[in-house]
C-alpha cells in the first residue's frame, strides 16, 4: 500500500504529514478508511481540507472498473490476425497468429518447426511489409535459406533485400541472455526496430525449449522459475506491443509411449494455442515435404483437428495472399 508522502496531493504538506503520523495514519489506506471528523479533531485541521485530500487520494489510488463490453471492444480494435502464409496451417490456427497471444509449435526433430518459422518470417516481412524479430537459440537460422524462400516470391533483388532488412535476428544460447534480450525489447528496442521498416508484428523464438529444457529436472528448482519468467516477459510483451509471439518446442515421450510437447505441464498453460507437427505417416517415402499439424490446445476451436500441409508452400511463388487485419467474428 502506498505510504503518505509530501506532495502527493495539494494540501498534504509537511506539517499535516507529521500530525497524521502522530495520529498513526501512515498509508493512503489508513487515511481513507479512518473517520475524518475524529482525525480532523486530533490533528487540529479543518474537516473540509481533510475531506478534499481524501477525495483526491481516492481518485488517484482506486482501481477503475471497466465493463466487459468495453474490454471486448478494445480487444476487437487492437487484435490483428497475422496469416502464416500457408492456408492449411491457417485453418488449424483459426486463420492465423493472433497478436497479444503466444502460439506454440511442437514437433520431433525434422518435423519442420524451424521451416515454418522461417516461412512465417518471410511472409510477414515480404507480403505484409512488417518487421519481424527472430530469436534463434539453436543456431539453425541461415540468411541464405531466408533468401532462398524470398527468391521464389519475387525476383526483384531490391525487394528481397528490403524484406531481409525487416527481419531482426538475435542469436542467444542460454536463458539469461534470452531474458536480457526480452527485457531490452520491452524497454524500447521494439520501438526502435519499428522505425523505418513497418511496425514489429511478430516475435519468433526458435526454440524456447533448447534453452529451458537443460535447466529442468535435477535437484535445483531454478529452471522452473526461469521458465515462468520467460513466459511472463513474452506474454506482457505480446500484450503491450500487440505482437504475435510464436515459439517452438521439442517433444518427449509420455509414460505410455505417446508423443507429447516438452517442458512439462507448467509450460502447457502458457501458450494460448498449441500445434503438434508430425510427418505424414503414409508418406514414408523419403523427401516428402508433407507434414500434419494437429491442434492440441485452443480456446477458439475444437481440439484435435488435423490438417496436412506442404512445407514447400513458402518456397513456391504464389499470388498475394490476404494478410490484412481481420476482425474476429467468432464469438467463442
Amino acid at each position: 500500500m502506498a505510504g503518505l508522502s509530501e506532495g502527493m496531493c495539494p494540501g498534504l504538506d509537511e506539517v499535516l504529514l507529521r500530525s497524521l503520523r502522530a495520529a498513526d495514519v501512515k498509508t493512503v489506506e489508513d487515511l481513507v478508511s479512518s473517520d475524518i471528523e475524529e482525525l480532523a479533531r486530533k490533528c487540529s485541521v479543518s474537516y473540509k481540507a481533510l475531506f478534499a485530500i481524501r477525495r483526491v487520494l481516492l481518485a488517484q489510488h482506486t482501481a477503475f472498473p471497466v465493463s466487459g463490453a468495453d474490454l471486448y471492444e478494445e480487444l476487437l480494435s487492437s487484435t490483428a490476425i497475422i496469416s502464416t502464409g500457408n492456408p492449411s496451417l491457417d485453418k488449424v490456427l483459426d486463420s492465423g497468429l493472433y497478436t497479444g497471444e503466444i502460439t506454440e509449435l511442437s514437433g520431433g526433430p525434422g518435423s519442420g518447426k524451424s521451416q515454418v518459422c522461417f516461412g512465417v518470417a518471410v511472409h510477414i516481412s515480404y507480403q505484409l511489409k512488417q518487421s519481424v524479430i527472430f530469436i534463434d537459440t539453436t543456431g539453425g537460422l541461415t540468411a541464405r535459406r531466408l533468401l532462398q524462400m524470398l527468391q521464389t516470391e519475387t525476383s526483384n533483388t531490391e525487394e528481397q533485400m528490403e524484406a531481409l532488412q525487416r527481419i531482426h535476428i538475435f542469436r542467444l544460447f542460454d536463458v539469461y541472455s534470452l531474458l536480457d534480450c526480452l527485457h531490452s525489447l520491452r524497454s524500447g528496442r521494439l520501438q526502435q526496430a519499428s522505425v523505418g521498416g513497418g511496425s514489429v508484428k511478430a516475435v519468433i523464438v526458435d526454440s524456447v525449449s533448447a534453452v529451458i529444457a537443460p535447466l529442468l529436472g535435477g535437484k535445483q528448482n531454478e529452471g522452473m522459475s526461469l521458465m515462468i519468467q520467460v513466459a511472463g516477459t513474452l506474454k506482457t510483451m505480446a500484450k503491450d506491443f500487440n505482437v504475435a509471439a510464436l515459439v517452438t518446442n521439442h517433444v518427449t515421450r509420455s509414460g505410455s509411449g505417446e508423443v507429447q510437447p516438452g517442458l512439462g505441464v507448467s509450460w502447457s498453460h502458457i501458450p494460448r494455442t498449441r500445434v503438434l507437427l508430425e510427418q505424414v505417416e503414409k508418406a514414408l517415402v523419403s523427401q516428402s515435404t508433407l507434414r500434419s499439424a494437429t491442434l492440441i490446445k485452443s480456446s477458439r476451436q475444437p481440439c484435435h483437428i488435423k490438417e496436412v500441409f506442404d512445407l514447400q508452400w513458402w518456397s513456391r511463388s504464389k499470388e498475394g495472399s490476404s494478410g490484412k487485419r481481420k476482425l474476429d467474428e467468432t464469438d467463442s
Partner: protein, 304 residues
C-alpha cells in the same frame, strides 16, 4: 540492382554492436561474430553439393549408420580437409578426434595422407606437400564417460582456445551411453547425455567449430506407429529422442547392394542422406570408399 549500394544506417551499426543483426547483414557476411555462412568442405564436390558447402560451423552434426557403412572413413577425411585454407573449403587448423570404441585407425590415416593429392585435385600439389597433416590431428581415447567429460571440459577447450584445432569429432557417441547404463537407469543416462550435448554445444558456439558426432543405429520393429523420425530403412539412429533433439544436422549412411569400380579399385556403394537439417533439403547421394578417401558417385559414373 546492386544491393551492395544499400547504405548502412547508423541504427544498424548500433544494433550490430548490441548483438542484433538483420538478415541482410547475415547474408552479406557482415556479422563476423555470427559466421553463419562458414562451411567445412568434405573434400568431394558431389558431397559438398549435397551439403551446400559442407558441415555447418556452430552446431552439432550427427552421422549415423550401420557398422561398416563408412562413417569413420568420412570422419578421417574431414580431419584432413580442415587443414586446407578457406578458399579450398578448410578452416586452416587441425582436428581433435576422440575415439571411444576401437583404437584409432592410424594406418588408414597415413594412407589417406599419402593419397591426398589424388583426392584433392583442385588444390595445387605444392600446397598439399607443404601441409603437415599428421601434426595437426590430435587423438584422444576415452574409455568411459568420466574421461570423456574430462577431455571435453579441460583438454579440448585448451586446444580450441589456442586456435590449434577447428574440428571436433566424437567416434562414437552411442558406444559409451549404451553400454554403461542398464535399462532402468534411463533417467541418469538422459541427464548425462544432456550434459554431454550441452558441453558440445557450448564448445561449438563459443569457438565457432563444427562438431561431428558418429552414432550407431538400432533396429526399429514397429514402423507404422512412429511418425516422428523419417524412416527410409528399418534402422534408426540410437539414443532416442533425447539425443535427437540436441542435433542440428543429421546425416545417415547405409550400404547398398551394388558395387562400383574405377581403375583397379572396387568399392561397395553407399548412400549418404540428409535426414534433417535447417538449411538443406532432404536428399541423398551415392558414395564410394576408395583408397584415397570417400567420394560421391554421380549418376553417370555408376554401373549397376
Amino acid at each position: 540492382m546492386d544491393w551492395k549500394h544499400l547504405e548502412m544506417s547508423p541504427k544498424i551499426r548500433a544494433g550490430v554492436r548490441r548483438g542484433e543483426s538483420r538478415a541482410l547483414q547475415l547474408l552479406r557476411g557482415e556479422c563476423r561474430r555470427l559466421e553463419s555462412g562458414l562451411r567445412l568442405s568434405v573434400g568431394c564436390p558431389v558431397l559438398d553439393e549435397l551439403l551446400r558447402g559442407g558441415l555447418p560451423v556452430g552446431g552439432v552434426t550427427e552421422l549415423s549408420g550401420e557398422s561398416g557403412a563408412g562413417k569413420t572413413q568420412l570422419a578421417l577425411q574431414l580431419c584432413l580437409s580442415v587443414l586446407y585454407p578457406p578458399q579450398y573449403g578448410g578452416l586452416n587448423s587441425g582436428a581433435v578426434y576422440i575415439c571411444t570404441e576401437d583404437s584409432f585407425p592410424i594406418r588408414r590415416l597415413q594412407q589417406l595422407i599419402r593419397e591426398q593429392s589424388e583426392l584433392r585435385s583442385d588444390v595445387p600439389s605444392s600446397l598439399i606437400s607443404g601441409l603437415r597433416f599428421s601434426d595437426h590431428v590430435y587423438i584422444e581415447h576415452a574409455a568411459d564417460l568420466d574421461s570423456l567429460q574430462v577431455c571435453l571440459s579441460r583438454r579440448v577447450p585448451l586446444l580450441l582456445a589456442r586456435g590449434l584445432v577447428q574440428l571436433l569429432v566424437v567416434d562414437s557417441v552411442a558406444a559409451l551411453f549404451r553400454c554403461e547404463f542398464q535399462a532402468a537407469d534411463w533417467l541418469e543416462r538422459t541427464k548425462q547425455l544432456l550434459s554431454f550435448s550441452s558441453t558440445l554445444h557450448h564448445l561449438s558456439l563459443e569457438f565457432t567449430t563444427p562438431v561431428l558426432c558418429i552414432n550407431q543405429v538400432t533396429d526399429v520393429f514397429d514402423s507404422s506407429g512412429d511418425s516422428l523420425g523419417p524412416l527410409s530403412s528399418n534402422v534408426s539412429p540410437a539414443l532416442g529422442l533425447a539425443w535427437a533433439n540436441q542435433v542440428m544436422v543429421r546425416l545417415m549412411m547405409r550400404r547398398l547392394h551394388m558395387t562400383v569400380a574405377r581403375g583397379d579399385q572396387c568399392s561397395v556403394l553407399r548412400r549418404l542422406e540428409v535426414m534433417f537439417a535447417p538449411h538443406l533439403a532432404r536428399d541423398g547421394r551415392n558414395v564410394a570408399v576408395w583408397r584415397e578417401g570417400v567420394q560421391g558417385v554421380s549418376d553417370t559414373q555408376m554401373d549397376t
